[in-house]
Symmetry: C2
Subunit: 455 residues, 2 copies
């Protein structure tokens, strides 16, 4: 075993042991650790900001030389107004959420004196790998402790100094509480990550937060279940009866509110019958925000026919790959959905396009018909399906989850924004007094199988 | 692309399309398909039994020549009293279970006119690989249709004739209903399985039912999430205050009711203080049933001291690997848990042994103390943790789930016996009237985040 391997086994092993102890702590003990974490980060604010300023300085030079994007620098800077205080507030809001552990979700009387319960419990050990955004460390440590899971965290190299400073504060703060110290461990070197991804008997879930490349690398290199999403290819379908005002508001917000986000709009499907009516209004509003439209021929022809002026370069021809592309900038692919004898058939075509091209993140429909909306919401196989509302609402804070560890496009375990519930599983408990299974069945005792009230 | 590959893509692709249509069907449509399936299998009973007799004949010869075990032959034979009728009854009981689809599990008013719902929905496409037991085909087809999932089924080679006959009946029966024909597809050749395991963009979940080797092969050869369990290493901890009568009843039942089952007992942990009191009673009852005990030195010495007669060969020395072994026969590993000043420390030692050695399937404690039982039930990281009840209760039918597709030792998605609920996921639906995310946040509108009643 190499040094990195043995260090990975050591990290994962101590995390696993810590997780078993964490799982038995009371809510009060876990909350006390979150209060301690908050207080310690408040007290050390200036030394952490100082460490952060060193990261920012190095990053600024990298931006000047063109090696780093400006947006990474922006995300790195913890001294921006309100950012540090938001991080502190986030810890307390997670602390004050309802305990996700120990909830009974099923209770059945199997037979006299024999009771089955399904009770929520922590998953165990989480490995969370993220880039930039140093405040995420505190956020995720808080979510892990609240949900009774041990966490192994690996930050991006741009935030190394901040990361080390925050991690030291977290370790010291936890040391004075019931939460075992190894519950939150921080990994600094990149080479240990590959070895950690091999610890599938000790680590229960990997959550990569960052670029599509990071997520794909993780998915391709581990047998541990991965929670997250690579692409966020979100689509809107503009149906023939869409309200023009609603369509403009929702589509412009979905595309322009924050184009680099995974819940931004990338593809617009337009019903043929509104190519010359609602669609030009939408296109005009998008052009005004500087959005380029990559149109198929019918939609392009419709704009050329109906709009007197189109800003230079903003009307482009779509190629097939545009409908599979997450642009993450002010570009939108447009495709026409043919008109059919029944409205139902058009919505089916839109659904089929989305199920074949979207990344199962969030897709929306603009229509005045509840019936058409229902068909769309049942038929689209995505984590979020919205009617007359912006794709940008797909977010843990906006859903009222307090915060999130990420957004999942998985189709098992948890889907969409992942808060505390997504970090739990359950176990089945049976309490008896000497009950034997062999007493039941043919010629033996009968099952009661009565649902009991859950208090 | 080879012929097998293209056939796998074709099977998975049509299953995926069928799954989208299935997801939009009403409960009545899905139930009608189950009634049709039941009626068709009732009408064709004799031709299916005839096909089965051909499988049984070939298998009998294989048993005679020592190539096949007698238990496989027994499982294969559909003509045994009640077996076919149980299969038919099983379809109707799945049909009559509560609809697992379309249930709202969370409803939040995000803001005026903007409502978030979390609604249960099918996962999509399931690939189910199983050995022997031909009646499982009907069972699993029923569970898949009821939960709105498309299923690709691969049976064992011993049941080929039966499998082909049943599958033809299923296809014909479904053809006359709203359920798309490709919703249940049956794969006959083994070589297509490897190609199907590569279709991770079309298949959402693999469920292997069979030997540990089958499960391991599947886990090692796919990126699709796998639901199931390889080993079933279940343990019992006999605490110092265990009631002797309860201990004997529960341990004997756990070990001997059906030793080849995954929920049978494989390891017994004995508190030092009861080595000479309760343990010999348990051992005597086990010896009387022909169970061999593989004991560590303290437990062996205690039996030699306390029992006047021990059947020849049934008392053996344990080696380390015994505590990691799923015997699946009348053999039980025994280990002593040292006595400590506090009872809590002993139960912690037992918990630590189980978390390090068990397969996270089902583990039990024998104790008269609710406090000790609670510590054990919180600390053991297994799908089932029972107090004074047999490990053999870990079963979907016994839990009141109607039936099961298998037992999961996974720590995400679903754990323990998997019924209809384990075959669903959820999606988030948002309904608005032109709501923009950019209107919220600093200086903008506030969130309501009010929990709404779920009707």
């Amino acid at each position: 075993m190499s040094l990195t391997e043995s260090s990975a086994v050591d990290i994962a092993g101590t995390a696993s042991l810590a997780s078993r102890r964490l799982a038995t702590l009371s809510e009060a003990d876990r909350n006390a650790a979150l209060s301690a974490l908050h207080d310690a980060l408040l007290k050390t604010k200036y030394s952490i900001l100082e460490a952060n300023s060193r990261d920012v300085e190095i990053a600024s030079r990298a931006v000047e030389s063109g090696e780093l994007s400006h947006s990474v620098l922006k995300r790195l800077d913890l001294s921006r107004a309100g950012k540090y205080d938001d991080m502190l507030k986030g810890i307390l809001s997670v602390r004050d959420l309802r305990d996700p552990i120990g909830n009974v979700t099923l209770k059945t009387l199997l037979d006299e004196g024999l009771v089955l319960e399904r009770v929520s419990c922590p998953i165990g050990v989480l490995l969370i790998i993220f880039e930039a955004r140093p405040e995420v460390i505190a956020n995720i440590a808080a979510l892990a402790i609240k949900s009774g899971n041990a966490a192994i965290l690996k930050g991006g190299k741009e935030s190394t100094e901040t990361f080390v400073a925050i991690s030291q504060v977290i370790s010291d703060a936890i040391a004075g509480t019931q939460v075992p110290k190894s519950s939150v461990q921080l990994v600094k070197t990149r080479d240990v990550v590959s070895s950690l991804l091999a610890q599938d008997s000790l680590i229960d879930l990997v959550i990569p937060r960052g670029s599509n490349d990071l997520v794909r690398f993780v998915k391709d290199n581990t047998k541990i279940p991965v929670l997250g999403h690579a692409d966020g290819i979100c689509s809107a379908y503009l149906h023939s009866d869409a309200d023009p005002g609603i369509a403009v508001k929702v589509i412009v917000d979905s595309k322009t509110d924050y184009p680099a986000a995974c819940n931004s709009l990338e593809t617009l499907l337009v019903h043929h019958d509104v190519l010359a009516t609602v669609f030009p209004k939408v296109a005009e509003a998008l052009f005004a925000r500087g959005v380029s439209l990559r149109c198929d021929s019918p939609s392009k022809a419709a704009l050329l026919r109906t709009l007197s002026t189109i800003p230079a370069d903003l009307l482009q021809d779509a190629v097939d790959s545009d409908y599979h592309t997450e642009f993450l900038e002010l570009t939108l692919a447009v495709k026409t959905i043919p008109s059919t004898s029944t409205a139902g058939a058009s919505v089916d075509t839109a659904i089929a396009h989305i199920n074949a091209h979207s990344s199962k993140h969030t897709d929306i429909i603009l229509t005045s018909s509840k019936e058409i909306a229902d068909i769309f919401m049942k038929g689209v196989d995505s984590a979020g399906v919205f009617w007359n509302a912006s794709t940008r609402f797909a977010d843990g804070m906006r859903y009222g989850f307090g915060t999130e560890v990420g957004i999942s496009t998985n189709k098992i375990h948890t889907r969409g924004p992942v808060g505390l519930d997504g970090l739990t599983i359950y176990k089945y408990l049976v309490r008896g007094s000497g009950h034997r299974a062999s007493d039941y069945g043919e010629g033996g005792k009968s099952w009661r199988h009565e649902s009991l009230p859950i208090v």
